[in-house]
Each structure stands twice: as structure tokens, then as C-alpha cells.
Amino acid sequence: MIFDTVVYGNVTLFDLFKVIAILIVAVVIARVITINLRRGLKDKLDKDHLVIITKVVYYGIIVIAVLAVLPMFGVSLSGLLVAGGIAGLVIGIASQSVVGNLIAGLFLMIERPMKIGQAVNIAGTAGVVEDIRVISTTLRTFEGLYVRMPNEKVFTTDITNYVEYVARRLEYVVGIRYSDDADKAIGIIQKLHEEHLLTLISPTPDIFVDNLGDNAVNIIVRIWVPTTEWYGIKKELLWKIKTALEDQGIEIAFPQCTVWFANELRSGEGAVTDPSDSQLP
């Protein structure tokens, strides 16, 4: 039969057809899997990462198929496996951190603790997420610096996402004098909140005397605002509170010390009133 015709070594024409058929099936399977992967992950991953993942899967299947058909050409896989094992060991040791970052990057993409464009703080570095790549994550700090962080570090450290939730609370401590009326001060701050266009009615603001400090009666002001407006309102509101309180005769206290003398200071004749008038050397 024609299929028994030897083409090369012990490889017959039938073996050749089998190899071609296996490779064609592998290509079809790889395509089906990558198409489904692309559809399934379209909404979960960005385009760049999706391309990388589908390519890895596609070529992975092809490589497995090629390895499977190699014995049909008389190529011994045991030799390849030994050589591949040694090479793999060397490459593995050399690229340990790269693989770690790659896996961490994949987990970050699945867990999604942050999205591109969000303001975050990663390991003490605050900024806006510029990109989340397979190996690294890049931030643009608020000072305008480019910061690249390996994904392994990002994945294993604390991430604070400032904008994940729609509302955020701002907090001030306003210290007023002991002689001032705290209830009146609370009323003034409450009115400022009510008149402000962007502070939230609900959750209800919390404004109360928190403690009686060394130099002041400390009023805590906790107001919820839309997350996108948090920084602007935080900058604006404290000074408004200060000026509104002062307009109503309530002053912000500052550290001071009252000194009581055991013997009352002499006043009038002979008293030292101005250092320039002093007879002291």
C-alpha cells in the first residue's frame, strides 16, 4: 500500500498524514479555546493582557501537539526531556523573580484591587494607576513621578484604594476656647454643612465635642462627601469653618500657659512695665 511507503528512516507516509492530522486538530482546538477565552475574558481583562494570555494558550497547545508527534518522526523525547529539564532548571532559577511577578500579575488581574485611573497608595507610594501589566504596575505619583512596581511587591503589600467607593468621609478636629459655647459652634458647623452644595445629607454628619484638651475644647467634624470631590471639599471647608466660627465670636484656641505667681506682682510705683524702662543691666 502507498501508506506503507517509507518517507524517512522508519517514518511512513501514514505517520506523516497522522502527524499532519494531529497538528491540524491541535490548531483547531487551540483556535476554539482562544476564541472562547477571548469572549469570556473580554470584560474582565484589558486588550493587551487578553492578547498575551490568548497567545500563550494558543502556542502552548501547538507546542504540546508538536511534542506529542515528535516520537512519530523517531525523535526520542527522553533526550529532549533531560535537556529540557536542565535548561528549565537554569531558566527557572534565572527567571524566578520574573515568573513570580508574572503569577502575581495574573492574580492581580483576577482579584482587581484597583483599576487603571484610580488613586491608590501601594506600599507608601500614592498616585494614580497608569497601567497594570503582566510583570509590573506603573503609578503616576501626585508629584508627577513615574513609578514602576514589580507585581510581586504590589500583590504582597497593602493597597489602599482611595476611590473604590462612591462616598468618603472627611474629618477635622476644631479646637475652641473653654470660654466659648460648644453647642453654638456645633450649630454653626452644621449650618455650613447644610449650605454646602456638595456635602452629603446621608450618611448623617457627626459633629460633637470629642474631648476636653489641654488648651481647647475639641470638636470632631465628620462629614461624608462624594469621593470624587473629597480633596476639593477638604481643602475648602476647614477655612470656612474657621471664619464662620470667628464671625460668631468663637475663636480657635491655641496652646497657651497661664502662670500664677506665689506673690502678686507689684504694679504702679516702682513696677517694671517696659523692659526699655528697666534700670536692670
Binding site: 467607593y165 462612591v166 462616598a167 452644595l197 456638595l198 445629607i201 450618611p203 470631590e229
Partner: protein, 235 residues
């Protein structure tokens, strides 16, 4: 005040002063409302100006598409019943210039107090424009430059009495109709559970003869998602 104006025009009402005048080869738009002034130069010679009540989600800032109306008095609706009520909502006035091919927003202003609130919790809730309204059984008398009316049809599909304290609407679905003395919309609330309801708008005037407002977010280029709002964090 609401309606279509030919260029040039000038009008003044209730502290609102608007004008669009020819200056040189262009047009100058000027407005003054509640202490705020605006001046824009338009490189155009023709067009029409529409002054319409628009979806009330642009002031103080475009932060949300949701309008939360809290009822001054709590409502209790009987099982498997549909009842109609009338509530008010804040008016925002849009000044739009139109040519044969396009409509553009010139200005937006409001005469009423603006405030925001959070519906739900900070994690999964929604920022909403806030308004408090009395509940009426018939069309109340209102100033159309300050307040509009929503005829709200509430359907309780459950077999229990349900308490309703608020309604939240997605402003993208609003269908506003107006005439000189009335601005109104028709909306529905379908209570599906003691704590869950869906709100939507009906594209129909409250009374015959009312004109339909230009919808700001369809004349613009912002994509519209669903016009409904699902109230999942309590009624």
C-alpha cells in the same frame, strides 16, 4: 419663559436675565442668575434658542444621574394595588442653541437649593441629587421656574403592606413636558418586594397641550444606559 426664541433676544424674569445679541460678526450670550454671571461668544449668525426645563442633574456639578426624592410624610400602600400620587422635583433650566444639524447647551441654571445624598452604603450605594417633596393627591400649585411635578404611579405587586419614604429616578430616562405655568413628568414605581422597587418614566404629558423638552443627554453625545432605576437599598 420656556419656549423657542429667535436671535437676537433678551428676557428678564424672577431675577434671571438672559440675552443673545449680535456683536460684530458674531453673537454674545449673557446671563445673570442668583449672583452668577456668564458670557459666551458664539461664532454663528443664525439659529434658534430653546429655553427648556431639563433633567435636574447638572447642578451643582454633573456627579450623578440619580434623583432621590424624599417624601415629607411616609406612604403606606396596600397589597396588590396601584395608586397615583403627585410629588415635586427641582427645576433646572437649560439654554440651548439649535441649528439645522445640531443642538448645543449654552447655559444651565437653577433657582432652587441643591444638595446631594447617598442611597445605600458607601461601598455599593449611589450618589443622588437630593430633593424633599410633600405628597399630593392632586396636581399642586407650583412655581414652574422652581419646581416641576411628577405624577407617580405606585404599584404594589406584593401581598403585604409596603412603606415608601422615597423614590429614586434615573434622570437619563426623564421625559419632561412643559407649558408656561406647569412643568411635569409621569413616572412609575413597581414594588417587587418589601424593600425593592423599580422606577421608570412614561413618555406622555401630564395634561394635553404640553410641549416636550429637549432631552439634554440625547441631544448631547453621552451614551445612555438603562433609563430605569432599581431601588435595592430600601424604600
Amino acid at each position: 419663559m420656556f419656549g423657542c426664541y429667535d436671535i437676537p433676544f433678551e428676557l428678564e424674569k424672577e431675577g434671571i436675565a438672559l440675552s443673545l445679541e449680535k456683536e460684530g460678526k458674531g453673537l454674545v450670550y449673557r446671563s445673570a442668575c442668583a449672583g452668577a454671571r456668564l458670557e459666551k461668544i458664539l461664532l454663528a449668525e443664525t439659529g434658534k434658542v430653546f429655553i427648556n426645563p431639563i433633567e435636574p442633574l447638572n447642578k451643582p456639578k454633573e456627579l450623578t444621574s440619580n434623583l432621590l426624592i424624599e417624601f415629607e410624610k411616609t406612604l403606606l400602600i396596600e397589597p396588590e394595588a396601584t395608586r397615583n400620587i403627585f410629588i415635586t422635583y427641582p427645576i433646572e433650566i437649560g439654554v440651548l442653541i439649535s441649528t439645522k444639524t445640531a443642538v448645543e447647551v449654552l447655559d444651565i441654571f437653577t433657582l432652587v437649593r441643591q444638595k446631594l445624598t447617598l442611597y445605600g452604603d458607601p461601598r455599593s450605594g449611589a450618589i443622588c441629587k437630593y430633593w424633599m417633596s410633600n405628597v399630593y393627591s392632586s396636581v399642586p400649585s407650583i412655581n414652574p421656574l422652581h419646581e416641576g411635578i411628577i405624577e407617580l404611579s405606585i404599584t404594589n405587586t406584593t401581598k403585604e403592606w409596603v412603606t415608601v419614604t422615597k423614590a429614586i429616578f434615573n434622570a437619563y430616562g426623564m421625559k419632561i413636558y412643559y407649558r408656561d405655568d406647569l412643568v411635569a413628568m409621569k413616572a412609575s414605581m413597581k414594588i417587587m418586594h418589601g424593600n425593592i422597587a423599580e422606577t421608570d418614566f412614561v413618555d406622555a404629558p401630564l395634561e394635553p397641550g404640553m410641549k416636550k423638552s429637549l432631552e439634554l443627554y440625547t441631544v448631547g453625545k453621552i451614551a445612555v444606559t438603562t433609563p430605569k432605576f432599581i431601588m435595592e437599598a430600601g424604600l
